[in-house]
């Protein structure tokens, strides 16, 4: 049996991507984000009880709705490894498959394996994808490959009608994985509008697949989240993110650039132009629709900026293929043809160089991973607290408290169905920022708090040296200190 070179190369890309990820995963004993410990707790809950329901520790007790399919999938591997190991390894393997899917999509569009390989390299090292999925057990490790596999199966079914069942099956699975499946629905709506407005054919299997996938995705999402929908209505889509968090951040072009990378942005934009206006390619309309729908969702503040960047980044990588292909076609009819190889090397160099910022992102991520000192002090306090009182910690460390100390927190960064999230977020900020002992005590008493956790990262976040009202030792006693992290006990 003879292997094609392109398959060997894509396998090398897969291994390189996986090695890159595993290198950084193994450089820390712990997971690299607070939210990863939310996943780990859920996975362990699924492992022991088989379901998610009421979380007794988060927000002092709250109803928990989160897609469970991901955990059931990971739970299978817990028969062989510890849950923490599974959460470190399996998502990295899953997300490493993404470049292969991008390769297949680009190959389907440009019909050139080497350009497809180049695009898959670009997709492997999009900074934002690394930042949001590396060593975090992120659900996007499975959601992103699946969504793009859906796009692939959509395009593939248009060419091979008898293979439509793949699309049917994936449409059924995707909504069980993650609510971001609605990105697919919105993209399909945009795609339909674009096709109609550009007088492109919109009929037959294409129309049928769009109808079917939209219906099934909406149905399953409603079935899973009907409680949340009935409670929050359309606001559910915001994940009940407190209004300040939804609207406060302003992002600039440089944010887009640093999150997506220079190469996909330049080649992808040219790809959109060429595909839309010169060659009117169906597949370009599809991925342009993805970008447009993401921009719309971003404008409406329905989607998080970083998630939006992941989708846009991947779509631009795919569209880059068209720009690169057209560039070489154009090159062949010019006198610069003599320098073809030189230009190939140049483009590959740009692609490879564009990877370098991703290393910085990865190193930075590992640097900011929770330290052994932090874990020790939190665990120590967990043992020390002998009652049911919650631990006061910053929202971005709430899951550390629930996982390592196995104690209630006041708030964490999973807001869906969280009780009085805005009020709690304000209270947390007030306790760390306030000069007023009375105000802080009032808030702490409201939640029945006995211990406050002040970590190095919280001090950096709020730009404080210490809590400003703790000089009264009769009221606030520092009972544990390890490195820059400490616990205060409230004694008045």
């Amino acid at each position: 049996m003879k292997f094609k070179l392109e398959y060997i190369l894509i396998f090398i890309i897969l291994i390189a991507n996986l090695s890159f990820r595993l290198f950084f995963v193994n450089s820390s004993e712990y997971l690299s984000s607070d939210f990863a410990y939310f996943h780990l707790r859920n996975l362990e809950t699924i492992q022991s009880t088989g379901k998610l329901g009421f979380d007794e520790l988060s927000y002092g007790g709250r109803a928990l709705i989160y897609p469970t399919f991901y955990y059931y999938f990971l739970a299978f591997f817990t028969f062989f490894w510890k849950a923490s190991v599974v959460l470190k390894m399996i998502p990295e393997i899953l997300i490493s498959i993404l470049p292969i899917i991008i390769f297949l999509i680009v190959k389907l569009i440009v019909k050139n394996p080497y350009i497809s390989l180049l695009c898959s390299i670009l997709a492997s090292f999009i900074p934002i994808i690394v930042e949001k999925t590396l060593n975090q057990g992120s659900i996007y490790s499975i959601a992103l490959p699946l969504i793009f596999l859906m796009f692939y199966s959509f395009l593939y079914a248009l060419r091979n009608k008898e293979k439509v069942y793949w699309f049917v099956i994936l449409s059924f699975i995707l909504p069980f994985i993650h609510p971001s499946a609605f990105v697919f629905v919105v993209s399909m709506i945009f795609y339909s509008i674009l096709l109609i407005s550009e007088s492109m054919p919109f009929k037959g299997l294409k129309r049928e697949m769009i109808l079917y996938s939209s219906f099934i995705l909406i149905l399953i999402q409603f079935m899973i989240y009907n409680k949340a929908f009935s409670e929050y209505g359309i606001n559910f889509i915001y994940g009940r993110l407190p209004a300040e968090l939804v609207i406060s951040n302003v992002y600039t072009f440089s944010d887009v650039l640093t999150n997506i990378g220079v190469a996909p942005l330049i080649f992808g934009t040219i790809g959109i132009y060429l595909g839309m206006f010169r060659y009117r390619k169906n597949s370009v309309f599809l991925f342009t629709s993805v970008i447009l729908s993401i921009i719309l969702l971003l404008t409406l503040k329905i989607i998080d900026f970083y998630i939006a960047m992941m989708f846009i980044g991947l779509s631009l990588c795919i569209l880059s293929g068209i720009a690169i292909k057209q560039f070489f076609i154009y090159l062949d009819v010019t006198k610069l043809y003599r320098f073809r190889n030189l230009l190939v090397i140049f483009i590959v160099s740009i692609a490879v160089l564009s990877i370098s910022p991703t290393f910085n992102v990865a190193y930075n991520l590992v640097d900011h991973t929770i330290s052994k000192e932090e874990v020790d002090i939190i665990q120590k306090m967990g043992v020390r607290i002998d009652d049911n009182s919650p631990v006061f910690a910053d929202v971005d460390e709430g899951h550390y408290i629930t996982y390592f100390a196995v104690r209630k927190n006041i708030a964490d960064n999973y807001y869906l169905l969280a009780p009085n999230s805005k009020e709690r977020l304000n209270d947390v900020a007030n306790v760390y920022n306030s000069w007023s002992r009375a105000l802080a005590l009032n808030i702490l008493k409201k939640y029945g708090v006995r211990y406050i956790y002040l970590s190095e990262r919280t001090r950096l976040k709020y730009n404080i040296e210490d809590l400003k009202y703790v000089e009264d030792e009769n009221c606030f006693a520092e009972i544990e200190k390890l490195g820059g992290n400490k616990f205060y006990e409230i004694r008045c």
Partner: protein
């Protein structure tokens, strides 16, 4: 075999419809009784039970209601109260039992009338069947057939009115006039809407019927003249207005919103009718107006729901008959759609069994009934007014704004009281309205204060001001007694 390949056996289908609809519509109240014990669904049910009991006790319609808005003239739409009271006297069933049974019976009749009306409009049998089933399973219809309110009668009368109107005979006209004329006696607002609907229909679709429509129109004018002369001028802004501007979609948590899937399917129905000029003008004019109005006046949702269901039925058949390239996708899509409509309905029925009044609220109402005297006033958000009255206590405001005395000032003062940060303002309100108790339930508390700082405003004073003492508290309801 095609969806419309056999001729519909009308009598058999009607029989099936009667059985299925009565079973479907009885489920919410049966489930509610099973899950939450005795009790009615929705606050309106408590209003009409109280008023009907009031009428039965007085053997006539009284002139004055002592409890609502601390006393107001008895200017309620009399239809539903009369039905409950007279049937209670005739049949001997309790008013509570009648409040559960009557909506189901009227609901069933509505389904049959819709079927007959669609037959008159010469839709395909398959379109009629799907439209009727979608309507039967729709959230607004299940809602109005589960609560004790005149809405279900009004919908029935509207459909019957149009049904008889479609006959070109004198008896048809008489029956149509009779049905339409009864509507204002059940709900004043609907009278206006049906009148407008009829005129638009005649002007766009069937101008030959203009004379008949004018006869009905003049009857309407007579009835409204009666209301204006005997009850006073009608101010459209006095009808119950939806506080939040959100389109009522059942899946998005609306108490009785339109089904999202029905709405999507109706787009396919609209597309199908796009090529019928007059129908197109009628629908394209009517739907946006009704949708806009139903955002403001939730009571119009059941009316919009009829249109949406019929269009959805047409849309479903249209999808079925469409030429599909992939049979696999066709089958799966249609199955998904059927599951969506049924699942959406089941989820709604489940929600309906747990919506207000909750067990905790009923306990609170029972507590109110036991304490104090009948002259005591309980202050709460207006949406709790009917329960307060049902407990035999006066409220400051409730949801029946029409002909309510100074309701705008009362609502304004109530809001100032809710958000007061000043003891003097609180004392003044208590004195002005002779408040004896303050009641909050979880929903109204969240509605009023939402994400606001709860350490300010009235809740702060309820906890810290010596004039307030918490006398009742459970997971849903808190009641404070106000001391002089």
């Amino acid at each position: 075999m095609g969806i419309n390949s056999t001729k519909l056996d009308v009598s058999r289908f009607l029989l099936i419809l009667i059985v299925v609809s009565s079973l479907t519509l009885a489920i919410p109240n049966l489930l509610r009784t099973y899950k939450e014990g005795e009790g009615l669904i929705g606050d309106q049910s408590y209003l009409y039970v109280r008023l009907a009991e009031y009428v039965v006790a007085n053997n006539q319609f009284p002139d004055y209601d002592q409890l609502s808005f601390q006393g107001r003239p008895f200017k309620y739409s009399p239809g539903w109260i009369f039905l409950l009271a007279s049937l209670h006297s005739l049949v001997g069933l309790s008013i509570i039992a009648l409040s559960k049974i009557l909506p189901v019976i009227f609901g069933m009749l509505t389904i049959i009338s819709l079927f007959l009306l669609l037959k008159r409009f010469r839709l395909l049998d398959s379109q009629i069947i799907s439209a009727v089933i979608i309507f039967l399973l729709s959230a607004p219809f299940i809602y109005i057939s589960s609560i004790s309110s005149p809405l279900v009668v009004v919908i029935l009368l509207s459909i019957l009115g149009f049904y008889f109107f479609s006959f070109h005979s004198k008896i048809g006209l008489v029956l149509s006039v009779f049905c339409f004329s009864l509507i204002p006696f059940f709900m004043l607002l609907y009278g206006f809407i049906i009148m407008a609907l009829l005129l638009i229909y005649v002007l766009i679709i069937d101008r030959r019927q203009l004379k008949k429509a004018l006869v009905i129109f003049s009857f309407f004018l007579l009835i409204y003249s009666y209301f204006i002369i005997f009850l006073g001028p009608i101010n459209i802004s006095d009808f119950n207005v939806n506080e939040t501007i959100e389109f009522p979609i059942a899946e998005f948590g609306a108490a009785y919103g339109i089904s999202l899937f029905g709405l999507i399917l109706s787009l396919f129905g609209l597309y199908k009718l796009y090529f019928k000029k007059q129908v197109k003008i009628f629908l394209y004019l009517l739907l946006p107006i009704l949708l806009f109005l139903s955002v403001k006046y939730l009571e119009l949702v059941p009316l919009v729901n009829i249109l949406v269901s019929v269009l959805a039925g047409i849309g479903f058949v249209n999808l079925y008959k469409m030429k599909w390239e992939s049979q696999l996708i066709k089958k799966v899509t249609l199955v998904v759609l059927v599951i969506s409509i049924v699942a959406s309905s089941l989820i709604y029925v489940n929600r309906l069994t747990t919506i207000n009044p909750s067990v905790g609220l009923i306990d609170g109402v029972n507590y109110l009934e036991r304490i104090g005297g009948p002259t005591d006033t309980v202050f709460a958000h207006y949406s709790l007014g009917y329960y307060i009255n049902y407990a035999g206590k006066k409220d400051v405001t409730d949801s029946y704004f029409l002909y309510a005395p100074n309701f705008k000032k009362r609502v304004y003062d109530s809001n100032r009281f809710f958000y007061s940060e000043d003891v003097a303002l609180i004392d003044k309100f208590i004195k002005d309205y002779s408040i004896d108790y303050v009641l909050f339930d979880k929903d109204t508390y969240n509605l009023i204060y939402g994400e606001k700082d709860r350490n300010r405003y009235l809740p702060f004073f309820l906890s810290n001001y010596k004039r307030f003492k918490l006398v009742f508290n459970n997971t849903e309801v808190s009641i404070w007694k106000v001391y002089p």
